[in-house]
């Protein structure tokens, strides 16, 4: 995201260390109702979405921060 980078591609995914995938761009996500019965906030209009990587979000496929309390890690702890 520094000045001088080439123009952003249509969809970008950033894997947050110890956290979700951040996705920017026009995407359509198909989720079976059985997987997310709670519904929740509208999501198709958000410009950046966080997709669950740890598997324990209550609003999958979207992140709800639960990864922080289960000790989910994708990188070793800093020394």
């Amino acid at each position: 995201m520094t000045v001088g980078e080439p123009a952003r591609k249509h969809v970008e995914v950033f894997a947050c260390p110890n956290g979700p995938f951040l996705v920017r761009g026009d995407i359509a996500i198909e989720v079976d109702d059985a997987e997310n019965p709670g519904g929740g906030a509208r999501r198709d209009e958000r410009r950046v979405v966080a997709l669950c990587r740890c598997g324990t979000s209550s609003i999958r496929p979207y992140c709800d921060g639960t990864h922080k309390v289960i000790g989910f890690r994708t990188v070793p702890p800093a020394r």
Binding site: G19, G40, A41, G65, A78
Partner: protein, 395 residues
């Protein structure tokens, strides 16, 4: 005197267009001056009600401020000083009804505000424990340090209580107390946009764009909260509950405003925002569950559902690209970023703990406004009728 309508009044005009969302209309009018809480706000109210070019011949406001700061046990919980600061900051936000808008930049009044800010910043830096900085100061390590600072412990906090135990009246009090900030949500952090460059600037705008509904006024978080209040039977006009808002809640908002309105505190503001976002999703989930337990519907809970999802996004951007990005650009701001994050936890925590303590002791979590005492109002002395004096002696 004529006061130009605030920016928000355009919403009222937009509401006449077909399909425009005109709910949350309470955000279109500036708040009214609330009741003074001590000699500082009593003196300030007299000043603010005067036209700026005809101030009161004798105003003891500077002296009252100096005296109050000297006498105060804790500026951060001093209702008189915190309310004064809140009113002064509101001149930069939505304005105050019947207050000459030129007071916003009046040098004498700004000097008075600076006295309070000086004391408040000193109190914050004295009382807030700032963690040791990370060994490496790239954006990723700054983000991980902020996540570590804001990690939830095992203790049960306000949001846990709301999830499982709060009564309907307590939930109502919570919605009222939160409204001081949430009806102007994101505004205090927007001040930093012109003060940043590059990655940090882009990240702040990205987060704020989401806060403001990304082009859809009806999804603006401030609007969601106004609708939630109205659906809960509360008054969504900004400032209508100010008299029952306690000093800790005022202080938490004033902290954001102070960080935002001073360029030299941009590090603290970004640290504050990162910490705020990082401590939002999980509590909002609990609050949403509690409100549903109490029978509130989607029209009230939508605000909290939205925040569970939005702030899981925002915390990543705020920690890494915003706070982390700023430290990469300006490494000397690392200490302030950590200070701002720690200050956020401290002041927000105090406000929440104060409310929770009151509830668990069976008391109201809101401030009980005292009966008006003549001594607080600057004006000609009046003879007190003797029968009232007898009642007061016996009361």
């Amino acid at each position: 005197m004529t006061i130009a309508p605030p920016m928000d009044s355009r919403t009222a005009d937009d509401a006449s267009r077909p399909g425009a969302d005109n709910r949350g209309s309470g955000l279109t009018r500036p708040m009214s001056l609330s009741s003074p809480r001590g000699p500082v706000t009593a003196a300030l109210a007299v000043v603010l009600r005067s036209p700026v070019d005809q101030p009161p011949i004798v105003s003891d406001l500077p002296a009252q401020i100096d005296r109050a700061i000297g006498a105060s046990v804790d500026v951060l919980s001093d209702g008189d000083l915190q309310l004064a600061l809140f009113w002064l900051y509101e001149l930069h936000y939505g304005g105050i009804a019947d207050v000459d808008e030129r007071w916003e930049w009046q040098p004498g009044l700004l000097a008075c505000r600076a006295s309070i800010e000086h004391a408040m910043e000193a109190a914050l830096r004295d009382s807030v424990h700032v963690p040791a900085p990370p060994a490496q100061t790239d954006a990723e390590n700054v983000a991980q340090a902020l996540f570590a600072l804001t990690a939830e412990g095992d203790e049960q906090r306000l949001s846990h209580y709301i999830r499982s135990e709060a009564t309907p009246e307590q939930a109502r009090e919570f919605l009222i107390a939160r409204s001081l900030y949430t009806l102007k949500e994101a505004d205090p952090h927007s001040w930093a946009i012109p003060r940043l460059r590059g990655r940090a600037k882009s990240a702040l705008v990205e987060v704020q764009s989401d806060e403001y509904g990304a082009g859809r006024a009806e999804r603006m978080h401030q609007q969601l909260y106004a609708r939630a209040m109205e659906a809960a039977g509360l008054d969504s006009n900004y400032g209508s509950y100010l008299d029952v808002i306690d000093a800790h809640t005022l202080c938490a908002l004033n902290t954001m405003s102070m960080f935002g309105l001073h360029r030299r505190l941009r590090g603290a503001l970004l640290g504050h925002l990162a910490a705020y976002e990082m401590t939002s999703s999980l509590p909002c989930q609990r609050i949403a569950a509690g409100l549903r337990r109490l029978g509130y519907g989607d029209d009230v809970v939508d605000y909290y559902d939205e925040h569970v999802e939005a702030d899981a996004v925002h915390e990543q951007i705020a920690g890494r690209d915003l706070a982390g990005g700023l430290v990469e650009q300006e490494p000397e701001l690392l200490a302030d970023v950590l200070f701002g994050a720690a200050a956020c936890l401290a002041v927000e925590g105090r406000a929440a703990d104060h409310m929770l303590a009151a509830w668990t002791e069976g008391r109201s979590g809101l401030r009980t406004p005292p009966r008006t005492h003549r001594g607080l109002v600057s004006g000609p002395k009046k003879r007190i009728p003797s029968k009232r004096r007898r009642v007061r002696d016996g009361g």
